[in-house]
Symmetry: C2
Subunit: 273 residues, 2 copies
């Protein structure tokens, strides 16, 4: 067995070398072979796990204005011995994934997205101050350039996430949707030009937004959706807690429900740091 | 920037030390600080990700014999510009999680299970040969003892998974449910005594089975469900691909849909090795 303090010692030793900072610090199932040959495992340390998922409920703001989920009780413990509901769930409500088929005729359905492409480096682009000035802000090519100046090239297979600060409005549907008197939405999104650059110049697996849509509120042509999803990549919407995760160096696990023929679906987003 | 071969060099250096075998081999967002101070990131290596999730569809075998999911098309791309379905989904169908409230009056609902307790060491207990001899096999206290003799004490906060080999029958509902002429099910499960021992003697977060139920097919009192869930722990059912994951040393990420008041729900299970 590993003597008390052993793992901390290893962690410090690795830290001094500056290598594998993320993996070492996380201690995911960190394993060592003890003196008698058995495997010694450490539990993950909770402080390295960040939940990027909003809680879904009938009150969660939706693009269509109708509840994204409704419940029907099927069994009740006092009567039946256990509790169980049936859900009526819109595929694109709450924290969820858009599969390529959502905006393409022949794109991949949800179950075809391989698990390997759902475990990805996370690049968080902070546009909070710009979104405060302009609720229709579009994350730009310049914002991506700024991130790369600070952190280096966007990693291969990454998820590039727009952090606009919008998640803090989720309890206020009027502010979160930004719906005006004319029925137009106002919230930030990702510009088609930035999306196009990521497709052509970087090998990126997905994009993510902390708002209702990859396109900004006023968009009428859903150009970012169309460009991005028809290129065979996935998108994430209504992402939470991007203020609690590092701008570079975290790994995102996209816990997408694996449903045949689905155009997307609820996803538990867990960041490992 | 890290020169070519740098990460492999680091990996070998760590491997020689025998420390952090899992974390180093996985290379999840492995980070190093380059000479000019920027963060250098590596994409996760796909061979270290194993999907423990079955694809859900209306044909997936269920405990109740009725479809676990049904679809209603809401939008169609040729007519509406995009594709979208509404799902009618039973909380306890396909690869899914049982929350404590499923078999208790006041247990935690799905959204209350913290993300920290959904990233856990995975201990896989192989009872394939025993289940071949006896389709009603109950994973026993002895099976847990055998695992610990080989791999050491079950890690704190682990998920203990029964690998009975049943996942290979999932395309054959008659075999998977084992329903006999009298309507009784036949498939393996976890014995109440083994569950009770894990609750009292080990600090375990969850249990998992590659069959329809934590209890075996013939169970009438659902004693393992009741004991386990009322203790505040979670369970996983219809787990896939346990033959493709190490018996010790993997980390399981439970991508549970985060739904308010739910008694469980679909979960994307991703093992990181």
């Amino acid at each position: 067995m590993c003597v008390p303090g052993c793992q901390e010692t290893v962690r410090r030793a690795l830290s001094r070398r500056g290598f594998f900072r993320t993996a070492a610090a996380a201690g995911f199932a960190a394993s060592a072979v003890g003196t008698s040959g058995e495997l010694v495992q450490a539990a993950p340390r909770s402080k390295n796990v960040v939940d990027l998922t909003h809680t879904m409920s009938p009150e969660f703001p939706t693009f269509f204005g109708t509840p994204g989920i409704e419940f029907e009780r099927k069994f009740e413990i006092k009567k039946d011995g256990f509790n169980m509901f049936l859900w009526k769930l819109i595929e694109h409500a709450g924290t969820h994934l858009d599969a390529p088929i959502h905006f393409s005729e022949n794109g991949a359905t949800a179950e075809k997205i391989a698990a390997e492409s759902l475990v990805v480096p996370l690049a968080v682009i902070n546009v909070v101050s710009r979104a405060e000035e302009n609720p229709d802000y579009l994350l730009s090519r310049e914002d991506l350039r700024d991130w790369e100046r600070r952190f280096g090239k966007i990693p291969v297979n990454a998820c590039v996430a727009m952090h606009s600060g919008w998640a803090r409005h989720v309890g206020n549907a009027a502010k979160y949707t930004g719906k005006d008197a004319g029925g137009m939405f106002h919230f930030p999104g990702i510009s088609p030009l930035a999306a196009e650059w990521l497709i052509k110049e970087r090998k990126v697996a997905g994009i993510a937004v902390d708002t209702l849509s990859l396109d900004n509120g006023p968009s009428k042509d859903f150009r970012t959706h169309t460009l991005w999803l028809s290129s065979g990549r996935w998108g994430l919407e209504n992402v939470a807690n991007l203020d609690k995760v590092r701008e570079a160096g975290a790994t995102l696990v996209v816990g997408l429900a694996k449903v045949k023929d689905a155009t997307g679906g609820p996803a538990r987003l867990i960041a490992l740091m």
